[in-house]
Point group: C2
Chain length 231, copies 2
DNA sequence: CGACAACTCAAACAGTCGTTTTAAACGTAC
DNA sequence: GTACGTTTAAAACGACTGTTTGAGTTGTCG
């Protein structure tokens, strides 16, 4: 089984100091206000650079957004692939069991590491990612599908092997639901907080993992859903 | 135990035909494009009304957005309260058990009914709701907290009784995580679809319920999360 | 009929948006 | 020194934004 991480598939672009300042400022403002509600003048003012610098270093506002996203996403996705590679290697050599929790941790560990590392965007990027999910960036979608679609395929295959008694359709649903919890938990999307009644301080990554992993593992490992549950 | 649904707590405003057309058009466009990216000219053009009608019937764009939201949310929230009242009445009279699935269904049934009823916005409103969660409308937040905060309190109390062996902190986490799955599943927020690799057609409400309820019930009913799961 | 309210309409308002342009400063090579 | 590509600076571009204005239409009641 060949490694999925080739060294030059996704080369890291190098940015000048001005470009980096723009990226940092844009990242924070995009998360806080959203893409449409953030103006280039706000970004350049916060970054302490000139307005025209945006269109010089990046071509347009949309291209800037994609650069903001790609800078954080690519390293994270590579880490996910490394986790899956390591798990499969351990299973092949008999050193580990391919159970549900092991697959879950292949996502949780990179997400946890990212959340705790401000130099890679920290929790801010995860929130930005959740904005991308709700807002519908066609171009970014196509990029993710083309460049990183196999990541999902890998997780699907791994979970399928961990849940051999479930049909592939049910495995897909478990993956969909499980990733939904994990993703939004790390992003801090707390519906209950909208109502001002959340008793959960959902910002400490370690606490999130502690409570989330048992929930997700139990949900993914539930008995097959034979009958419609409304009965 | 008094009923939580008073008949005049949230009176339904009546809208003229023009105002209704504006609300319908705005609802669809807000979901598709987001609040900031949708212009009043797009809304009025799609509704077939004059631009100034928006500021005549509603005061401003922000007030229009709140009207769009409130029109759908209030009836739905009332239905949730009725479900909780009915469950508590059944439990008090010994006709039903207060288990996790019963509490979950107090949310699922109204959400399912809403998703299947286009005349109340259908799945479109649930998607709009998920936008509200990510974008951060201060005013809407305050309204939800003030007018409907007790809804969350009711769910918390019910789940706490269904999970008597868990601490209140853990009950809060289970509620947070469980509602996260249910909410985003109904809203159709599929992370895997971002990568173009989702094998799940997450748009049929009955199918969503069939696969989601066992997942959520199992997750909420998991054993207490004693040790950090990373070990 | 006239009077009054509800509502619609086209036009204009002041402001902001992303983007472009033009000129100036910079470091480096000849 | 001059010449050059790179980066920054300020100003202007046209298009679009939410909102307001004031005249016009409609329908209803007396």
């Amino acid at each position: 089984m060949k490694s999925s991480v080739s060294s030059d598939a996704h080369p890291e672009p190098k940015y000048s100091e001005t470009a980096t300042r723009i990226l940092d400022a844009a990242e924070g403002l995009f998360v806080e206000l959203g893409l449409e509600a953030t103006s280039l003048r706000q970004i350049t003012q916060q970054a302490g650079v000139n307005l025209a610098a945006v269109n010089y270093h990046f071509r347009s506002k949309d291209a800037l957004f994609e650069a903001v996203f790609a800078r954080r996403f690519a390293p994270w996705a590579r880490e996910c692939l490394r986790e899956l590679d390591a798990l499969e290697a351990s299973v092949a050599s008999g050193k580990a069991a391919l159970d549900v929790e092991a697959v879950v941790m292949c996502y949780v560990r990179p997400a946890l590491a990212l959340s705790k590392d401000p130099s890679r965007g920290g929790a801010v990027f995860v929130r930005l990612f959740s904005r991308v999910l709700v807002e519908n960036h066609r171009q970014l979608r196509e990029t993710l599908s083309r460049e990183w679609g196999h990541l999902v395929t890998r997780y699907t295959a791994a979970l399928g092997r961990a849940l051999p008694r479930l049909s592939s359709e049910e495995v897909a649903w478990r993956l969909h639901l499980g990733f939904s919890v994990m993703f939004h938990a790390f992003a801090g999307n707390d519906i209950l907080k909208l109502f001002g009644r959340s008793a959960v301080s959902a910002r400490d990554p370690d606490l999130i993992v502690k409570h989330m992993v048992p929930f997700v593992v139990a949900g993914m490992s539930a008995a097959p859903s034979g009958k419609p549950a409304a009965g």
